[in-house]
């Protein structure tokens, strides 16, 4: 839970007055383009970065007076691969347990289970440098679970992963959610947000732009369907479409026409036989681009 969260670096206001409520047991997504203030927000929420102003509490406790207790119950999956290269896979978990002051007997019991969960049990004695990117991510996830946290925070968990690894991480996050963990996730992948999150907020320039369940967001902020047109539009048609304020967008050489009326879109497509047209349902990505992207409205 946070109120009026702000962060100013010199002249730059990275986060300007965010209010967020993450209900217990939910998966909550923080979406925004690069540089929107997602990571800064997370760092403040985790007490890793001082706030310029605002009130923050986790598990109903103030982060200023109870940071240590909050950390004991929080697992963090950072964006960067900061595994300890001086140790093996299993040792990484053991050393990390030391920082939480978890006893050896608990660790010896917990580590094999965690390695099995992320399917790295066969690599327990291997050095970190021999792991692939996806394996490292999985190990970081296992590391974040070493203290059996109630809250898990993921900062762009699948950036740079291949589809196999991505799906594996997603299914692990689903599993954690089923086990009653509260999950806070930042991402700029809409598919990820749609699959995982009960509720999302879209932020840009440190401000909240929209909030809601993914499906609901699409309904509120976008027409049902979209026609993507690629190529040079004839002037006449351009003027014609340009009148449909708020339903017509341009990005580079691609034009987007949004509508709740399928026939209208198909008719438009029919008069453009020489251009590549794609007719599809609108999704979260459309909402995202409309709210954060550079739009040209004529």
């Amino acid at each position: 839970m946070c109120r009026g969260l702000r962060k100013v670096y010199g002249d730059l206001e990275a986060v300007s007055g965010l209010d967020l409520d993450v209900p217990r047991g939910n998966c909550f997504g923080l979406l925004g383009p690069n540089g929107a203030g997602k990571t800064t927000t997370l760092r403040m929420v985790l007490g890793q970065s001082p706030r310029t102003s605002g009130v923050l509490s986790i598990f109903g406790e103030s982060i200023d007076s109870n940071l240590r207790e909050i950390r004991q119950r929080t697992g963090i999956v950072p964006q960067a691969d900061n595994l300890d290269p001086d140790f093996t896979v299993a040792e990484n978990l053991r050393i990390y347990g030391l920082y939480f002051r978890i006893t050896s007997s608990v660790l010896e019991h917990r580590i094999p289970k965690l390695l099995k969960l992320v399917e790295l049990d066969h690599r327990a004695t291997d050095r970190i440098s021999t792991l692939s990117g996806g394996m490292k991510r999985r190990l970081i996830l296992a590391r974040a679970l070493i203290n059996d946290p109630d809250l898990l925070v993921f900062d762009e968990p699948t950036t740079g992963l291949d589809p196999q690894a991505r799906h594996m991480i997603w299914s692990l996050i689903h599993r954690l959610k089923r086990n009653g963990k509260t999950i806070l996730i930042t991402t700029h992948y809409m598919e990820e947000a749609e699959r995982l999150c009960d509720e999302i907020v879209i932020i840009d320039h440190g401000k909240l732009l929209a909030q809601g369940a993914p499906g609901e967001m699409v309904r509120i902020h976008c027409q049902k369907e979209v026609l993507e047109i690629r190529g040079e539009l004839p002037d006449r048609l351009f003027d014609n479409l340009g009148y449909k304020r708020n339903r017509f967008e341009q990005a580079g050489d691609t034009y987007y026409l949004y509508s709740d009326d399928t026939t209208e879109l198909l008719e438009t497509a029919a008069v453009l036989p020489e251009l590549a047209c794609l007719h599809r349902q609108s999704g979260l990505e459309d909402v995202f681009l409309r709210l954060t992207g550079r739009e040209l409205r004529h």
Binding site: P50, R71, P78, E91, I95, Y99, F100, A144
Partner: protein
């Protein structure tokens, strides 16, 4: 800046233990270095030069040099660890970033690292002490008392080196400290000859360098002479260590908590 005094807690030991576990893995190379280097140095310089010099300040030159080397090595080992190794963990490896996601805090990390640096000094100093004993340079059992002095010296020098690390943008920055601070101390602070043989203004100047006090504390304990002003020397080392550690914690907080 957060000028609050460092408040290390039990997690400090976790940071120390992490480093000790890494070190244990490379113990072969480490033992070879800690015993082999002083052995060659002492045999070569101690006997080689000692043959011409005989005694210095009433001590056989071999023993004079061995005791000076112990103090110098405490400075050197702690400084190197606090610069190159700590920087590696802080910047390219992002080890501290990972640790800071746990209940362990910057204060625990910095104090844990400083204690680790001092521990490495203790290992290295003890190794030279053993070599010196085998080669007959150590007077009596009182040399054991040099061990806490070696640890204190290591801590005292780890702190300013860690300040350099907190300010460093890259490894090349450490060359300045090495050349402008550590090398002059190595040459001037009484490792090779008594500071009393320096020109008068220099004698005053070297009193402000902590290595002078480390040598003045460790040498008599090793060669079996009475220590003059032991509390002054220990006090200077403790003072530098304490304030150095404080500033190091403040600077690392500023660097990592942004």
């Amino acid at each position: 800046m957060d000028w609050q005094l460092p408040l290390p807690r039990l997690e400090t030991l976790a940071v120390w233990r992490r480093n000790a576990l890494v070190w244990r893995r490379m113990i072969g190379a480490s033992v070879l270095m800690h015993f082999g280097e002083p052995f060659i140095l002492l045999i070569g310089l101690g006997y080689g030069l000692g043959r011409f010099i005989g005694e210095m300040a009433g001590i056989p030159y071999f023993a004079f040099l061995a005791s000076g080397f112990i103090a110098w090595s405490a400075m050197n080992v702690a400084s190197m660890e606090a610069m190159w190794s700590v920087y590696t963990r802080m910047v390219p490896q992002q080890t501290y970033e990972a640790i800071l996601a746990t209940p362990t805090r910057v204060d625990d990390i910095v104090i844990g690292e400083l204690l680790w640096c001092a521990s490495k000094s203790l290992v290295s100093g003890s190794a030279i002490l053993v070599v010196a004993t085998v080669l007959g340079a150590v007077a009596d059992w009182r040399a054991i008392l040099a061990l806490p002095a070696i640890f204190l010296t290591g801590f005292c020098f780890a702190a300013p080196a860690l300040i350099m690390t907190a300010l460093a943008k890259g490894y090349e920055f450490f060359t300045f400290y090495l050349t402008l601070v550590m090398t002059p101390m190595f040459i001037l602070c009484g490792v090779f000859y008594p500071t009393a043989s320096l020109p008068a203004p220099m004698q005053t100047f070297v009193q402000f360098l902590p290595l002078t006090h480390a040598v003045a504390l460790i040498r008599p304990l090793v060669v079996g002479q009475p220590v003059i002003d032991p509390w002054l020397h220990a006090g200077v080392l403790a003072f530098c260590g304490f304030f150095g550690a404080w500033i190091a914690v403040v600077l690392v907080r500023r660097r990592l908590i942004v």
